[in-house]
Symmetry: C2
Subunit: 465 residues, 2 copies
């Protein structure tokens, strides 16, 4: 009851009353809660919503949207808060619609290798529940994000080189439209030619077209054999060449990650791994024992032809977990290298033949600028992240980082790539989207948005202005 007593909220009293009646103390107007929901893992300053609502069902989501639609109040769907481009910031105020309580795994169809979940289920929760079925969901962006959030940003991460991204692995959706209608797209069939692909239109729409309330996902059998290894190289170039050659040979790499010397140094410092502090590939192979052995042999041959040294195998699940946890913490570990810093992260993805050029030019630029940085990359996909570690008290550093990022994006577009492989556009990359897709295509996106959301209440100000 504390919440509606806040006299300063700009929300209409009638809306607040409706929400209060429906949600009781699951409507929260406290500053602490609002601030927590008005940020993500981007370096942007917090922009709190006017209220936070915790929904427990599709019907409650529909109720919130119908009310918000009627009152023309923004709604921002919220999962785990791990997005990276400002997607969750309430730049026009309104309601943060927290879906983390909608965390039921509704149906595992083991024979069909599909699962239906609510949007607040996290990927770790899902894989925990799937383990005894001998199945797993491979998409792994690092953070323990919710599946709704991962679908909304078209997330991918370390396993995408083999298993695809959320684009390829969301089969069906239930979603709620801006005016509170509950619709369904897709089915549990592996393929379909039935009408427009609304599923793929919702995936990656960053909460601007509808609120996902149920997701049906494709699963995979847990591989019979798994091996992971690190291999060090004299240069980033040699590491990237190795990745490219393995892809061209059709080696079905499950993961193929690059860490530059700085990133290795950072994870060593935090996780005490004792890895050689030079550019490194972290690879994982899935398959039958024979198939994995064959992949491993090819990888060792190709890597050593590129001067790769010190193939170091992590064969037990514990060793592998430790290695991948270190990779997943690379971002946090790097932040610790410059205490008090913030990180401006790039996310370009280019055709793999251009990846080495893109990385090398980016390194030259950041070295010349003298900013601390680190690189991690999903190099099998042509995607890498360069993190500029900036001092938030020095505006010049922020500006420098943004300028370097802009140069990199322009180069990636010139190479036939994209400004964002997996983080999305959010607040941060809107001018890049315009450059990449062109004014005509972005205008088409805007007009599609207005079909879904005529009053512009769904996560306004994101993707495009």
């Amino acid at each position: 009851m504390h919440s509606t007593s806040n006299p300063n909220t700009p929300l209409p009293a009638a809306l607040l009353e409706e929400l209060q009646n429906m949600f009781g103390n699951r409507l929260n107007l406290s500053l602490a809660m609002r601030e927590q929901h008005g940020r993500d893992e981007s370096p942007f300053d917090v922009a709190p919503p006017d209220a936070v609502v915790f929904a427990n069902s599709s019907q409650e989501v529909a109720f919130v949207l119908a009310q918000a639609h009627q009152h023309r109040i923004p709604v921002i769907p919220y999962g785990a808060g791990t997005s990276l481009e400002g997607q969750l910031l309430a730049v026009s105020g309104g309601l943060s619609l927290d879906l983390s309580n909608m965390n039921l795994i509704l149906q595992v169809n083991a024979e069909d290798m599909t699962v239906t979940v609510q949007p607040g289920v996290t990927r770790e929760q899902l894989n925990e529940a799937l383990r005894h079925h001998g199945l797993f969901f491979p998409i792994d962006p690092g953070a323990n994000a919710t599946l709704g959030g991962m679908a909304a940003t078209r997330a991918s991460g370390t396993n995408a080189v083999r298993y695809g991204t959320m684009r390829e692995n969301v089969m069906a959706l239930e979603f709620v439209t801006a005016d509170g209608e509950v619709l369904r797209t897709g089915s549990r069939a592996r393929k379909s030619s039935a009408g427009y692909d609304l599923t793929r239109l919702l995936v990656g729409s960053e909460g601007t077209l509808g609120v996902m309330t149920e997701l049906t996902l494709r699963l995979y059998p847990l591989p019979e054999a798994v091996r992971a290894a690190t291999c060090s190289f004299a240069s980033v170039d040699a590491a990237v060449q190795t990745a490219m050659l393995l892809m061209q040979l059709g080696v079905p790499l499950a993961r193929c990650e690059l860490l530059d010397a700085q990133a290795v140094r950072a994870v060593n410092a935090r996780d005490r791994l004792g890895l050689r502090e030079s550019p490194m590939l972290l690879m994982e192979f899935h398959g039958s024992p024979g198939g994995v052995a064959e992949q491993v042999e090819t990888a060792e041959t190709v890597a050593s032809e590129q001067g790769g040294e010190g193939f170091d195998w992590a064969d037990t699940p514990e060793q592998r977990s430790r290695l991948w946890a270190a990779r997943h913490h690379a971002y946090l570990s790097a932040l610790l290298m410059r205490p008090g810093c913030r990180c401006v992260t790039t996310d370009t993805c280019v055709p793999i033949s251009r990846l080495a050029d893109n990385i090398n030019a980016s390194i030259q630029e950041v070295e010349a600028a003298g900013l601390p940085y680190f690189i991690v990359g999903h190099v099998g996909d042509g995607n890498f992240h360069l993190g500029y570690l900036i001092d938030p008290t020095l505006p010049a550093e922020r500006e420098m980082a943004e300028r370097l990022s802009e140069q990199m994006v322009r180069r990636a577009l010139h190479m036939g790539g994209t400004c964002t492989g997996e983080h999305g556009i959010g607040l941060h990359k809107q001018s890049f989207l315009l450059e990449e897709a062109g004014e005509g295509s972005v205008d088409l996106m805007r007009r599609l948005k207005s079909v879904f959301d005529p009053h512009g209440i769904l996560n306004p100000g994101k993707i495009f202005s």
Copy 2:
């Protein structure tokens, strides 16, 4: 000059004059040409367009659309004429826009395993050109369709179980909007989170949202080793169980096709293959020699546990070609089993655990009805086609076939599947789409269509009314 002299065309004189000036004898008003462009491989009666225009470039496509938009005249993109659901029929007259002359392979990027083609390139032409690069494009719907047509219907076929469908393998598009603007979607990057997925929205839109004028496709390395085999079973059920178990074991089957006894009989009769006339799986394995050997061993074990007999290996490219040609001709071969017949084809796709039930119930129904039929299926995907061979002079047979098809679709939807795995909606499955997606989602599709095509000139009357 013969063409514009036709006094009976309902096309406006001003439009005809513009087209005549631009296209000369590439504008054709002859009845023969119009009839050839007003049909596809569906059992529908021909519905000829008022004229056929052969475009040679994106600019010419844009010119035609700008003119048609201004005059509110329908435009139906035409590739190879092999669609199956009436997609090409000019039910509201207008122009058939033949793109088969736009058949250049614009750019092969072998290192990145991508290719950019014009829409009139056929899949056989593409694979011929790719062979010396050691690459191939796997999507194979049987017919030597154009890649533009395959993208427009979200085609798949025999290799989809391993390599996905056109949905997964079109990376980028150039397309022309209804009013003649040339837009681009996607890029050559393997993944992207840059805004709404317009590429996937165009793929499968059956010419109703825009005319594709350039496609960038994902390629794959030619497998080092390929083996194909047939295996006979006592029942369709046992064959389908085998396919399901192999999928669940994670065997990366490249192809897994079912032919029922009737289909085997038909291909035997036409191609003199001497195959055992009982339900059969036709499988293909791709990989390294060791990987293929392992897959083969697993397949033989699983199949024999299901009573599979007579594993027959086709190891030379010639043997394989002969076998796959026979599979691709199954449709034509089956037509020859009842001279003068037409074929009403179903295309349901269900979760694989329900496939055997769906096929068995469908067989019982068609046997009870006494109609001749055959079955072929992409069973690894849960997709199968039952062809009802009807006498076109007996309306009762046509009605019976449609009634049986309706029952099957309803069952497939109930099983969590789709009315069409790969043929599209066209004219034929509109009521099924409504049942599958629901009135709300189809209405959303209609409103999206009106953003792309406000005057409804792009392939009107298809997908929905």
